[in-house]
Symmetry: C2
Subunit: 285 residues, 2 copies
C-alpha cells in the first residue's frame, strides 16, 4: 500500500510522466507535483494530466513532499539530489529512476552521510521505449515491469519498505539487488543490447535499408532511442558494460568462426543454445 501523501517528481519525461499517470490512476488521492526546467514541458505535463501541479522551482517543488522521485537524466541525478536535500522536509524519502545504480547510490549516500532525517533508496523501474518525452508517457508503462530497488549497508529498512510499496502500488514487480548487482544485470539485458543495436544501425549504410525486413527492424529498434540519455547511462556503467561486451563478443565470434569454417554442425549447436536461452524469455512472460 502506498504510504506517501505528497509525491514530487523531478523530471517529467517518459518515465517521470508514466509514474505520475500511474499514481493518478491507481491512488488518485496522492498529490503529484512536477519540477521542470522548461515551461513548455510543464504545460505539456499538465495537459497530459501526468501531474496535479508543476513548478520551475526545485525548492518550492520539494518543500512539502513525503516522497521525491528523481527522474531526470542520469548525469544530473546526483546534483539534483543535492539540491533537493537542501530544501526537503525532515522524514522525506528520496528515490530515483536512473538506469545505473552503483554510481548514483554511492554519490547520494555520501551526500547524506551523517544525515538521519532524510532517507535515500535507489530504484530503477525497467520500462521505457525508444521514445522520449511526457507525450509518450503511459499510465500502464510500469504495469508488470520489473523494478529494481537497491539495498546497501546504509539503507534504512523502513524507507526501503516504503519505496517497495510505492512501486508495487504502481503495478511494478519489485526485485531487491545491490547497486553493483543491478549494474551487472542491466549491463547484460539492457546496455549491451542497446550498444549492439546502435552498432548495427550505424554500420548498415542507409541505401541498404530498402531491403530491410522485420528482422533488421526489431534488432535495431532501440537504436532510435535518445543518444544523450544513453551516452549518459553507458558512461556511468563503463566497467560492467566492458565485461558484458566481452561476453557477447565471445559468443558472437564463436558463431562467426564456425560459419567461416563452413562448420554446419558447430553453427547449429551454437544457434540452438542461443535459441534455447531466448525461448525461455517467451515462456517466462
Amino acid at each position: 500500500m502506498m504510504q506517501f501523501k505528497k509525491v514530487t517528481i523531478i523530471g517529467v519525461g517518459l518515465i517521470g510522466g508514466s509514474i505520475g499517470l500511474a499514481i493518478k490512476k491507481r491512488v488518485p488521492a496522492v498529490e503529484v507535483t512536477g519540477v521542470f526546467r522548461r515551461p513548455s514541458t510543464l504545460r505539456k505535463a499538465l495537459k497530459y494530466k501526468a501531474i496535479d501541479k508543476g513548478t520551475m522551482s526545485l525548492a518550492e517543488g520539494v518543500r512539502d513532499a513525503d516522497l521525491i522521485v528523481l527522474a531526470a537524466p542520469v548525469h544530473t541525478i546526483v546534483a539534483t539530489a543535492r539540491e533537493a536535500i537542501k530544501h526537503a522536509k525532515k522524514g522525506v524519502v528520496i528515490t530515483d529512476a536512473g538506469s545505473t545504480k552503483a554510481w548514483i547510490v554511492g554519490k547520494i549516500e555520501k551526500v547524506l552521510s551523517g544525515n538521519s532525517s532524510i532517507r535515500f533508496v535507489g530504484s530503477h523501474p525497467m520500462a521505457g521505449s525508444e521514445h522520449a518525452g511526457v507525450e509518450f508517457a503511459r499510465k500502464d508503462l510500469l504495469d508488470g515491469a520489473p523494478c529494481i530497488v537497491t539495498k546497501t549497508a546504509n539503507t534504512n529498512k523502513r524507507a526501503l519498505e516504503r519505496v517497495i510499496d510505492f512501486w508495487k502500488a504502481l503495478g511494478a514487480k519489485v526485485i531487491i539487488l545491490s547497486p553493483s548487482g543491478h549494474d551487472r544485470s542491466v549491463s547484460l539485458v539492457s546496455h549491451l543490447p542497446h550498444i549492439v543495436a546502435f552498432g548495427l544501425a550505424g554500420a548498415v549504410p542507409s541505401k541498404q535499408l530498402v531491403y530491410a525486413a522485420e528482422g533488421y527492424k526489431d534488432t535495431t529498434r532501440v537504436a532510435s532511442s535518445d543518444p544523450e540519455l544513453w551516452a549518459d547511462i553507458f558512461l556511468t556503467n563503463r566497467k560492467e558494460i566492458a565485461k558484458a561486451c566481452r561476453e557477447f563478443e565471445r559468443y558472437y565470434k564463436a558463431i562467426l568462426k564456425s560459419i567461416s569454417g563452413n562448420d554446419y554442425r558447430g553453427t547449429v549447436r551454437l544457434l540452438k543454445a542461443a535459441k534455447s536461452n531466448r525461448d525461455k524469455l517467451v515462456y517466462a512472460k
Copy 2:
C-alpha cells in the same frame, strides 16, 4: 499480371505456404500443387488451404507446372532443382525463395547450361518470422514485402518478366539485383542482425532474463528462429557475411572505445549517426 496457370511449390513451409495462400487469395484460378517429403506436412498444407493438391512425388508434382517455386531449405535447393529439371515440361519457368543467391543461381545456371527449354530466375521474397512451418503461413505475408529477383548474363528476359509479374501479383515489391548484389545487401540487413541476435541470446545467462525488458526482447527476437535453416543460410553466404560483420565490428568497437574512454561527446556523436540511420527506416515504411 500473373501469366502462369499451374504453379508447383516444392517445400510448403512458412514461405511456400504463404505463397500458396497468396495465390489462392489473389488469383484463385491458378492451380497450386505442393510437393512434400512428409505426409504429415502434406495433410497440414491441405488443411490450411495453402495448396489445391499435394504429392510426395516430385516427378508427378512438377510434370504439368508452368512455374516451379523451390521453397525448400537453401542447401537442398540445387539438388531439388536438378530433380525438377529432369521431370518438368518444356517452356517451364523455375524460380526459388532461397535466402542466398550467388551460390544457388550459379549452381542451377550450370545445371541448365545448354538447355534452352527450361528457364531459371532466382528470387528471394524477404518476408518471414522467427516461426517455421505451414501453420504460421499467412496470405498477406508477402504483401508489401521486398522481393529481390536476380538477373545475370544468362537470364532469359521473358522469363525474368514473368517471374517479376508473379511476385507483383502476390503483392510483393520487386527489386532486381545481381546475385552477388543480393548477397551483399542481405548479409547487412538480414544475416548480420541474425548473427548478432544469436550472439546476444547466447551470451546473456538465462538467470538474468528476469530483468529483461522490451529492449532485450526485440533485439533478440530473431534468435528464436530455426537454427538449421539459419546455419544453412549463413554457410552459403560466408564471404559477404564476413565483410558485413567487419563493418558492424568497426562501428560497435568505436562506440565501446568512446564509452571506455569516458568520452561523452564522442559517444553521443556515434549514437546520433546510428539513430539517424535507423530513423530513416521508420519514415520509409
